[in-house]
């Protein structure tokens, strides 16, 4: 077996066609593990429809809850909380005001629960997020669902990648395809660290180039081999040229340009990858070529 290779596909922002491209790769590759790390807006499963055979809970953090039978409303917790999550509210029956915790602001740091003299604060786990492992028509898929408003998408991404690696090792699979999250925050970092190669999908718009620069700056920090695909390049050829020039200056190879093609959307509407939907079309030929350049 060849050495396991992990390729991350990312984009500075969403909507660049990243997931459609990953779906095409996932249906072309020779039995890969696909890791959907876009846990905030997981879409890939809509095309790959995995049959999940394993599922687990993910504890994304904790939230502080006050036991009002024990609380004396002394306010010590409020003085300690740095996230402005604890307030003293005017309420009848509470001469000093009622100490309350606001869920949205609570960062789950545990400090209030550690210092409360009455031990009136408990930390309850937030475990509504889930991860799944399944089979799809051409391989294995690991994906997850982050529950609304929960933090730590970075940790969930790391969990998905860890499960993908375990699955690949157990099944003797040598390729992991990562559908990364947008942005440059902790979840984007978590989807990149330790990857062998990163492909950024961009569009020829001013903001596309701007986002590309940010995400490539990030990938550069981790010294991962970087390449770029420009999607819908014909919508703005001048910008496409500008992106190409920037890439060549930065020593990043542009491994393909894809024209705007409504079939990309049609295939998605029919829950198929582009190479499944129109296998013999020119657009599929372009996508196949990109895939070959990507996996060498």
């Amino acid at each position: 077996m060849q050495k396991l290779k992990e390729i991350a596909v990312i984009s500075g922002k969403g909507g660049t066609g990243k997931t459609s491209l990953v779906a095409a790769f996932a249906t072309m590759a020779n039995h890969p593990v696909v890791a959907d790390c876009d846990v905030d807006a997981a879409n890939l499963y809509l095309i790959l429809h995995p049959e999940n055979y394993k599922e687990g809970k993910f504890v994304s953090g904790h939230k502080a809850i006050i036991d009002y039978n024990a609380c004396t409303h002394c306010g010590l917790c409020m003085a300690h909380c740095r996230f402005d999550a604890i307030e003293r509210k005017v309420q009848e029956g509470f001469p000093k005001g009622k100490i309350t915790i606001d869920d949205i602001n609570c960062d789950g740091c545990w400090l209030c629960s550690r210092i409360c003299p009455e031990k009136a604060i408990t930390m309850v786990p937030e475990d509504d997020s889930r991860w799944y492992i399944g089979n799809y028509r051409n391989g294995k898929m690991v994906h997850a669902r982050l529950s609304p408003g929960e933090e730590n998408s970075g940790k969930l991404v790391s969990k998905v990648r860890e499960l993908a690696k375990e699955t690949a090792e157990a099944e003797k699979i040598d390729l992991i395809l990562i559908d990364g999250p947008p942005g440059t925050g902790c979840s984007a970092i978590a989807s990149l660290t330790g990857a062998d190669k990163v492909l950024a999908v961009t569009e020829p718009t001013g903001s596309g180039l701007h986002d590309l620069k940010r995400i490539m700056e990030l990938a550069g920090k981790f010294q991962i081999e970087r390449c770029v695909v420009i999607n819908k390049y014909d919508l703005n050829r001048r910008m496409t040229e500008e992106i190409k020039q920037w890439c060549s200056k930065e020593n990043i190879s542009v491994i393909g340009t894809i024209p705007f093609e409504p079939d990309m959307v049609h295939s998605m509407v029919h829950c198929k990858s582009i190479t499944e939907w129109t296998p013999d079309s020119p657009i599929s030929a372009v996508v196949k070529e990109i895939f070959e350049r990507l996996i060498i």
Partner: protein, 285 residues
């Protein structure tokens, strides 16, 4: 009035809607501020050129451990829920992983030997620019790779003050940066596409807003490109469809040149004004 413009993922046209709404509001003599809260990928600035008048650095406190005073008891590590402290009792070594520190202050309280103090660490910037008299853009821009953009977003919202109309370009997704942005909103405009991906993301956003109890409505962008399921679902759930923006190469071209369609085409200016009026009417109810 505070209106957040959001979408389950980026690239659906959220910034397109926000900037065009801003444009028509300004043209109609409103005192309006647009806060670009998509701090990981702020894009509004490309469409609205203004004069920067203030640039504020946003920072957090960062714990610093004094090895002279530290006795390597490990209590600070045990209290740090974010795993930012590594303490090796036997080797008498202690490290702080700066990228993981959330500025919670627990280690300071934990240490009984006064070994921990704090410095500052930069998280990003908030830039205020005047676009036209009475209309302002505040941009949250997080530094690449910080653990959370929430403090930068909060700073941008504070810097935005209380104009008569505040538009907020929300970060994509449904996690903390999104919640932080929509929390102060009186109304949320969700922008989506008529595709299975768009519908899937929309459902997640709607579920989140329902939990928060926020009023919202939907703008469908690139109408005609995908299928009809988004519309069926909106009807079934009785969710107001505020506007349909057709899929049009001309719009894509104008957008890719960083221009505003409402400034280029009068009929769009009218439609965006109508959108603003619809939102205001829904807010009053």
């Amino acid at each position: 009035m505070k209106i957040a413009i959001a979408s389950g993922k980026g690239g659906t046209g959220k910034t397109f809607v926000a900037t065009n709404l801003f444009y028509v509001a300004v043209k109609n003599g409103r005192n309006v501020t647009l806060a670009d809260c998509d701090a990981e990928e702020p894009n509004v600035e490309g469409f609205l050129q203004g004069k920067p008048i203030r640039k504020k650095t946003v920072s957090q406190n960062l714990a610093v451990i004094d090895p002279e005073k530290c006795v390597y008891c490990g209590k600070c590590r045990d209290w740090c829920i974010y795993n930012a402290i590594i303490c090796l009792e036997e080797q008498q070594k202690i490290y702080l992983l700066e990228d993981l520190c959330h500025d919670c202050g627990a280690c300071l309280v934990a240490c009984k030997f006064d070994a921990i103090s704090e410095t500052e660490r930069r998280l990003g910037t908030v830039t205020t620019s005047v676009i036209e008299e009475d209309s302002v853009l505040t941009e949250a821009r997080a530094d690449v790779g910080i653990y959370s953009s929430v403090p930068v977003i909060k700073a941008a919202l504070t810097a935005s003050g209380t104009p008569s109309l505040l538009l907020m370009d929300a970060p994509p997704g449904i996690s903390c940066p999104f919640i932080t942005t929509v929390a102060p909103a009186d109304f949320v405009v969700l922008v989506t596409e008529p595709t299975p991906f768009g519908l899937n993301d929309l459902k997640l956003s709607v579920e989140t807003l329902e939990q928060l109890g926020k009023p919202y409505g939907v703008v469908v962008n690139r109408d005609g490109l995908g299928d009809h399921k988004v519309y069926d679902w909106l009807e079934e759930k009785n969710i107001p469809l505020l506007m349909k923006i057709p899929f049009d190469r001309e719009i894509a071209r104008i957008y890719s040149q960083s221009l505003l369609v409402a400034a280029e085409d009068d009929s769009y200016a009218k439609q965006f004004l109508l959108l603003l009026q619809k939102i205001e009417a829904l807010c009053k109810n």
